[in-house]
Symmetry: C2
Subunit: 292 residues, 2 copies
């Protein structure tokens, strides 16, 4: 079934609206973070538009937004809408790309937050729509608690985060949550250390049930669930003080995050090796990391 | 030509002797690093032996040595001597491995130093001997100045480091230095940023001229050249004070080092993905890194 331009527009509008909504929520959390735990003025997002390619033809681009704040040590919330033609080598890897003559359109939002407070989990969320001769949605959200004591399936933040994702899934299909939770666990795994990146969440891809409206509604629900639950977790944790050894544990755990992103993450490695927007791709890297 | 056991022994003895020699030189530099620039007591190397495999058969192992000092923020100097059988998938990538039925023997030294002082370049050195049904030497040494002002081909440390490597090469063959310098530049390149990791050095691999004695002597000369020149560079730089913005520039530049190691370095990615000794492989990671 051919995707209409109006569907692309609606999806891109949604991802952009979600970006604005999350930015507003995160800036509001920054306001709530007060001394003595949090130092300096509340942060605000720096925004930067970028254009794909050399400008000679319209290949789309994106709206980056990065905040370096007093509660959010570093957070990127990026929107993009890109189009063009995949290289022949790449077409073979993408469903429907050979049939479309390589042409594609894609739009999405991607977000990674690294917090000053070691008690607050880092988080990643990404949802997107892709169109070749086929079309589908993909994405998910997963939580990375930094301290060992919080890296348990029954830790409260993890329980609440999973409940929020399950609720978004269950509104559409009871099989979604268990399937997408498993995929998340499988994907966010550091094979060389035989350990998970975090405590999971959901991960879905090439999602096309044949009902575009419902698939789009599902992707919207995942975004809304994320935008509601993560600020709740932050508020719940943000007044916990921390000591130097917890900060240290956080910085070391962030090293695992870097290892995952550069060794395994398909988005990161593909993006970097094929001339993607480095600034946007690497804005996911933690601001300060230790390998002691 | 079959390699004799006595040749393997002589090579392994040399790598181990070089490890001890470098350790003594680095510990002596630690003694020379004094307050107020360098804080706390002089560091010494922590040594740790490791055994490859589960111990049910003799697959060799290694002697790790890591120092976290006041001048050397983190430095690993590792010796290893390993043997066994390559997997079939891997045999195809290694000369002579299919012909040897997969069996191999390897010994070498590898070293990476990250310094507190941003004026002192980081350095990497690795030399090794491999035996399948063929045998060869490989290795090299390269310098990574951290501050932009020092990352120039005519910066004094870089000039002296290259002169030392050229001298080790020229004693054996006038074509070595230009060839191995080019290989080093090609290999230590961050494609996604289109920038070099550092200011180069030499890199050689599958080196077998047909004269084992001379090839071994060359590898020894590279080791000696390194063991002489790097301490000289450290001494020349170590009394330069630094400020916070230079420390910052160092920590950011170290991020590029991490990107190289996890995205491109064949030793690191191969080792991690095939169950190598994580502690030894990742001891190359800088102790503190920023992605601001």
């Amino acid at each position: 079934m051919t995707v209409k331009n109006s569907q692309k527009e609606r999806a891109a509008d949604w991802f952009q609206k979600l970006q604005s909504d999350i930015i507003a929520r995160f800036e509001s959390l920054e306001q709530m973070a007060e001394p003595p735990l949090y130092r300096g003025a509340a942060g605000t997002f720096e925004r930067k538009d970028w254009v794909r390619g050399d400008g000679s033809e319209d290949l789309g681009g994106g709206k980056m937004a990065i905040m370096r704040g007093r509660l959010f040590e570093k957070v990127g919330v990026h929107f993009s809408e890109v189009k063009g033609t995949f290289s022949e080598a790449f077409q073979a890897q993408i469903p429907g790309a050979a049939e479309s003559g390589g042409t594609f359109w894609a739009s999405g939002i991607s977000l990674i937050a690294h917090m000053w407070n070691p008690h607050i989990p880092a988080v990643h969320m990404n949802t997107r729509m892709l169109v070749t001769s086929e079309s589908w949605f993909g994405g998910g959200a997963d939580l990375t608690p930094l301290l060992d004591c919080d890296r348990q399936p029954d830790a409260p933040d993890t329980v609440d985060f999973h409940a929020a994702m399950k609720s978004a899934c269950d509104a559409h299909d009871p099989t979604f949550y268990p399937t997408f939770k498993d995929r998340c666990d499988t994907y966010f795994h550091l094979a060389h250390r035989n350990e998970p990146r975090g405590t999971g969440g959901i991960f879905y891809d090439r999602h096309n049930t044949g009902d575009w409206e419902n698939d789009f509604a599902f992707t919207q629900d995942v975004g809304r669930a994320f935008a509601n639950i993560y600020p709740e977790l932050v508020k719940w944790r943000m007044n916990n003080g921390w000591n130097e050894s917890q900060r240290d544990e956080q910085l070391i755990r962030r090293g695992r995050y870097v290892e995952f992103n550069l060794l395994y993450d398909r988005g990161t490695t593909f993006g970097l090796k094929t001339g993607g927007n480095i600034e946007s791709i690497l804005s996911s890297m933690p601001p300060l990391v230790k390998w002691p």
